[in-house]
């Protein structure tokens, strides 16, 4: 993977022209099919990952090693013709390794900016919870601001820009857990999970001969992705749907099992992702079904359960799922 040293592009003046719902759906399907060729039997996770990408969000993959977190990130990146950067987070990683650094060029007799790993379209941050807090903070600041400021110069990051971070839940030694404020910046947290028996068998057959990742061809370019993002932004959100999303998020704040509920940013990102899912379905309006698919990935990692809940074996995912079972789709009484 080449370490490109291109500076940030100038800001696009022309707004990208949106795609028709059919085009959007077809493109999304093509990307999904492509990725699924690599990661078998995980279409739902892939779909959500793509939705996060098209919602201009960042993804936190939390799962045990070896289930294909990195594969998923790479396959997604390859399907789109864009640059992928990988950062292996270690305790001694410095912020400048992430953002870039100005080095004195003796020939030019000047400081030259050497861009860090964030100057790509897709950033894969492996084991993010192993880095020291200040390095984490550097990355997370880029994620939110989508720009890097070094020595007084502001460098705009690429678009599309997406961070896919992974962390291992079991390896607790020598880790710096992400503070809630930083977890909140990730749009969604996904677990890939083990493949089922058939998918694993199929995987053995394919991987025996070659690495499918190598053969993966891009199906769309960064330009198309930008247009898709613009399209998804135009998806209609009915007032009732907004109310539904607010009700769900509000419920996470009032339930007794949770110490800290989801933030308003969560509501925003929930609906942003719902728009993408709707567009991926070929619709120009979002449905509560979209919200329901996203609630657990988008909300669960933001909640802090009470000690009782944790000790009782409950996790935030099941709390959100429980909330979903109780919040009425239509808040007006007597209506369904």
């Amino acid at each position: 993977m080449a370490f490109e040293s291109s500076p940030a592009r100038p800001v696009q003046q022309q707004p990208p022209s949106p795609l028709s719902p059919q085009e959007f759906k077809a493109t999304a399907e093509a990307i999904l099919t492509n990725v699924e060729w690599v990661i078998e039997g995980k279409s739902h996770t892939i779909r959500l990952a793509l939705a996060v990408m098209l919602a201009e969000g960042h993804l936190l993959l939390e799962d045990v090693p070896g289930v294909g977190k990195t594969q998923l990130a790479k396959a997604l990146a390859r399907s789109v013709d864009c640059s992928v950067r990988r950062i292996q987070f270690t305790p001694d990683l410095l912020p400048s390794d992430v953002t870039g650094v100005s080095i004195f060029d003796p020939e030019k007799r000047d400081f030259v900016f050497k861009p860090g790993a964030v100057f790509g379209n897709l950033i894969l941050g492996d084991e993010i919870n192993r880095a020291s807090p200040k390095t984490q903070a550097a990355l997370l600041e880029c994620m939110e601001e989508r720009q890097v400021t070094i020595d007084g110069n502001t460098y705009k990051l690429r678009s599309p820009f997406m961070v896919i971070a992974t962390q291992n839940p079991v390896e607790m030694e020598g880790t710096y857990p992400l503070p809630e404020a930083q977890r909140d910046r990730f749009t969604a947290r996904l677990a890939i999970g083990y493949p089922d028996v058939n998918a694993e068998l199929a995987m053995l057959d394919h991987r025996g001969e070659f690495n499918p990742l190598e053969a993966l061809k891009p199906v769309c370019d960064g330009e198309t992705i930008t247009r898709m993002i613009a399209t998804a932004r135009a998806v209609h959100l009915a007032p009732e749907l907004k109310r539904y999303a607010v009700d769900i998020v509000a419920a996470t704040r009032t339930t007794a099992q949770v110490r800290l509920g989801a933030s308003p940013r969560a509501t925003l990102q929930l609906l942003r992702c719902a728009r993408v899912l709707a567009a991926m379905d070929g619709r120009d309006f979002a449905l509560p079904d979209d919200v329901q698919q996203l609630a657990v990935p988008v909300l669960a990692h933001r909640l802090i359960p009470t000690t009782e809940t944790t000790m009782g074996g409950g996790d935030t995912g099941s709390i959100v799922a429980d909330i979903m079972r109780h919040v009425p789709v239509v808040s007006q009484p007597g209506r369904y």
Partner: protein, 778 residues
């Protein structure tokens, strides 16, 4: 107080509450002491044996023993040993008391004095009920069954004297029953020390449960509803005893509805059918051949027969005027309870209380608005009883058709069939004058024409009871008199029915008149002569009947042509007492035939349309949910209101009706999926509906609702086809969606109520807050 004694006390107290309607049938409160004593003695006996740890068998035995001892003490008639041990004689004395009590119940109208047979029967009944009640509530711990004993206790006074026991007496028995249920439940729950309240709190046994408010509310609401229902529903308010023993319902008989008075017809049939006649009065008179004692005059003829006009515009007694030979009669009242005073012939003077008694101007009936014969032990009446000869009667002119007498006394309902019979009769007899017509009718009703006296009448299926009588030709004085009067009215002769007593039996200067002497006959108006008595009933059927000299008794007549003046001066003859049928039910049937009476069956079958309406309403009640549901569906799918949302509401409700579980958190797609999973055939319709409502709600463009009613119908048919029969009927008759809707609204209402209460400025007695509350773990 331990739990057993507490429960015993509750049982006794609740029973005592249920006894309150007895106040309506007894005079004063003298009955309460022995009756309450009975309840207390039985409760004490049961409680003592229970606390000694004995079983239910011994408890019951002890209570029966206590009952026997107390009854022996109070009603031994001098036959008991040491006042409390009954002997065989005691039991036969009791049997006598029972017989006496039954007689009293039939003859006397409430309120009665609390003594003798009636008190005995009451106490015996209360005692037995108290034993059962104690057994159900305390011994067997089945308080729900105690409802039966309380109901029995409540029904007895209410059916014996429906008029005396007003509707509101229902409250106390109802409250007593609720108390028994609540107390038992409390006892059951309190055994665990603390009560669970549903909201996660525990409440100490001495504190009210928060749930109790709901229970109290429910109890109050149901009692109120029942009372409203009782007040609204038109009922036949006559008592069971009246209906069974006398076949009579006093729905509209004037003078029948008031306390202490009897409907004349009911009194008549009831008295004639007494298994053992009683003497009602004794008369001494200087009239050598007294005739009938007139009490009521039924001159109002309606669809339901002859009735007396109401005795509410009475004239003073001194407006009476006699003429001719005046006789004086001394009347001693024995058993008569009525608001009219029996008098012979044409009364000239009666020495009754001027303030209480008066004369009904149209009929000359001596009546009282407020008082009754019950308060009169003796009175003297001066009267004339002129004899008429046939020639005078035959010469009488027809009554002018524009006179008040004519209008009042020829008014009759239109019964074409009867008109035909009368017209044919008059034509055949060639009757023109009043007297000819009267004789023609008398002849028509004579045994020679096949009419026979019988206390049992049968229903021949005609609309009018009179036609039944003319068909079957069987009946008694009521039928005879009413038919004759009605037929005469058809023939434009003023006629009315008199109800009273025959002369009775004579011995040592005193005429003794018994309940068998009740009788009905006819008065016919002769212009210039006044009202003349005729008796169409065969003398064989009338106890102590009298033959009027101006009209031979029909059973003896052979030739109607010379009947008129044939037997003047014939002396009254005494005939055999009537045969008394024994089965009261037959009477009930018999009475039903007769105009002027109505029974429960008669009321529902005929004139009382409110009762029909109420019945219809009652029958409609189970269908209200179904009607409501289908109205809701029509409204939702009506073109005016139809949109994807209303169609979707209907879809959700249909799913609920057919038992498909849906959550409020289901999106339209999930709902459709749930429907499709439950009934695969319904997939298409439900998905179409779901998609429509999705577009309606979430899409900027909305949805086209035109095809949705068809989809809803499709869905309904599919669901119906696939449902089990039980579910199918349930979905139609008692739709679950309606119930869910009610539950939801109730939930919202209670939330609002809670909010209001939270805002209320006054402190609430509650366990959920405050320092005194005992909450938390015991």
């Amino acid at each position: 107080m331990n739990s057993q004694r507490h429960a015993t006390m509750v049982a006794a107290a609740s029973l005592s509450l249920t006894l309150t309607p007895l106040a309506g049938i007894f005079e004063g409160l003298g009955w309460a002491i022995p009756v309450l004593l009975m309840v207390a003695v039985i409760a004490t006996a049961g409680s003592l044996v229970r606390s000694a740890g004995r079983g239910q068998g011994l408890q019951t035995l002890a209570m029966v023993g206590a009952l026997t001892v107390l009854m022996t003490m109070m009603f031994n008639g001098g036959t008991a040993i040491a006042l409390i041990i009954p002997t065989p004689d005691t039991f036969s004395h009791w049997l006598n008391l029972v017989g006496q009590g039954i007689n009293d119940i039939i003859v006397m109208a409430p309120p009665v004095a609390p003594e003798g047979g009636i008190l005995f029967m009451t106490m015996m009944g209360v005692g037995v009920v108290a034993i059962l009640h104690d057994m159900f509530v305390v011994g067997l711990r089945t308080p729900a069954l105690a409802g039966l004993t309380l109901l029995t206790m409540y029904l007895v006074p209410v059916s014996v004297a429906p008029d005396a026991t007003a509707w509101f007496w229902f409250i106390l028995p109802a409250v007593a029953y609720l108390w028994v249920l609540a107390d038992d439940n409390l006892r059951r729950v309190s055994r665990f020390g603390h009560r669970f309240t549903g909201s996660g709190q525990l409440v100490g046994p001495r504190f009210p449960s928060p749930l109790a408010a709901t229970a109290r509310m429910a109890g109050a609401v149901f009692v109120t509803l029942t009372l409203i229902l009782l007040a609204v529903i038109p009922t036949n308010t006559s008592g069971l005893v009246d209906q069974v023993a006398q076949g009579y319902g006093d729905g509209e008989g004037p003078g029948g509805g008031d306390l202490g008075s009897l409907d004349p017809w009911a009194q008549l049939s009831g008295s004639l059918n007494r298994p053992d006649p009683v003497d009602v009065m004794r008369v001494t008179t200087d009239d050598p051949s007294p005739r009938y004692l007139r009490m009521h005059v039924a001159d109002v003829l309606t669809d339901s027969g002859f009735h007396p006009s109401p005795y509410d515009e009475l004239e003073p007694l001194d407006s009476l005027s006699g003429g001719g030979e005046v006789f004086t009669a001394q009347v001693e009242n024995l058993e008569l309870v009525d608001q009219v005073a029996p008098v012979y012939g044409r009364p000239a003077a009666v020495d009754l209380d001027e303030d209480e008694w008066g004369v009904e101007p149209n009929t000359d009936v001596i009546a009282s608005e407020d008082s009754s014969m019950e308060d009169v032990d003796e009175y003297t009446v001066q009267y004339t009883d002129p004899d008429w000869d046939a020639a005078t009667l035959a010469a009488a002119d027809p009554t002018p058709t524009d006179s008040a007498v004519f209008e009042r006394n020829t008014d009759h309902p239109d019964v074409p069939e009867l008109s035909g019979i009368v017209e044919q009769l008059m034509t055949e007899a060639g009757a023109v004058t009043v007297h000819e017509k009267t004789l023609a009718v008398l002849d028509y009703l004579s045994p020679a024409n096949g009419f026979t006296y019988s206390l049992e009448t049968t229903d021949a299926g005609n609309e009018e009871a009179i036609l039944d009588f003319l068909d079957t030709k069987e009946g008694y004085c009521q039928q005879y008199a009413a038919s004759m009067a009605w037929m005469l009215r058809e023939a434009d002769v003023p006629a009315r029915v008199a109800i009273g007593l025959t002369k009775g039996s004579y011995s040592e200067g005193v005429w003794t008149i018994s309940s068998d002497n009740f009788h009905a006959w006819v008065e016919v108006y002769y212009e210039g002569l006044g009202w003349i008595d005729f008796d169409p009933t065969p003398s064989s059927g009338v106890s102590d009947s009298v033959s009027f000299p101006w009209a031979t008794e029909p059973s003896e007549a052979t030739d109607p042509a010379d009947q008129g003046g044939a037997a003047p001066g014939e002396e009254p003859t005494t005939t055999a007492p009537t045969e008394a049928p024994t089965l009261p039910e037959e009477l009930a049937t018999g009475a039903q035939e007769q105009p002027g009476e109505q029974s429960a069956a008669g009321e529902t079958g005929g004139g009382a349309s409110p009762a029909w309406l109420a019945l219809l309403l009652l029958l409609a009640v189970p269908f209200i949910p179904a009607l409501w549901r289908s109205a809701l569906r029509r409204s939702r799918l009506s073109p005016r209101r139809l949109n994807a949302q209303t169609a979707w509401d209907e879809t959700r409700d249909l799913a609920v009706d057919y038992g498909i579980e849906l959550r409020a958190s289901f999106t339209p797609r999930q709902t459709a999926a749930a429907l499709a999973q439950a009934v695969p055939d319904a997939r298409e319709a439900s998905e179409a509906l779901a998609s429509a409502v999705e577009h309606h709600r979430y899409s900027p463009r909305g949805a086209d609702a035109a095809a949705l009613p068809a989809a809803v119908k499709d869905l309904r048919i599919t669901l119906d086809k696939n449902a089990e029969p039980r579910l199918r009927f349930g979905a139609i008759l008692w739709p679950a969606s309606l119930a869910a809707r009610f539950a939801e609204q109730r939930g919202r209402a209670s939330t609002r109520l809670t909010e209001l209460r939270a805002k209320a400025p006054w402190p609430r007695r509650s366990n959920s807050g405050g320092d005194e509350a005992v909450t938390g773990r015991p």
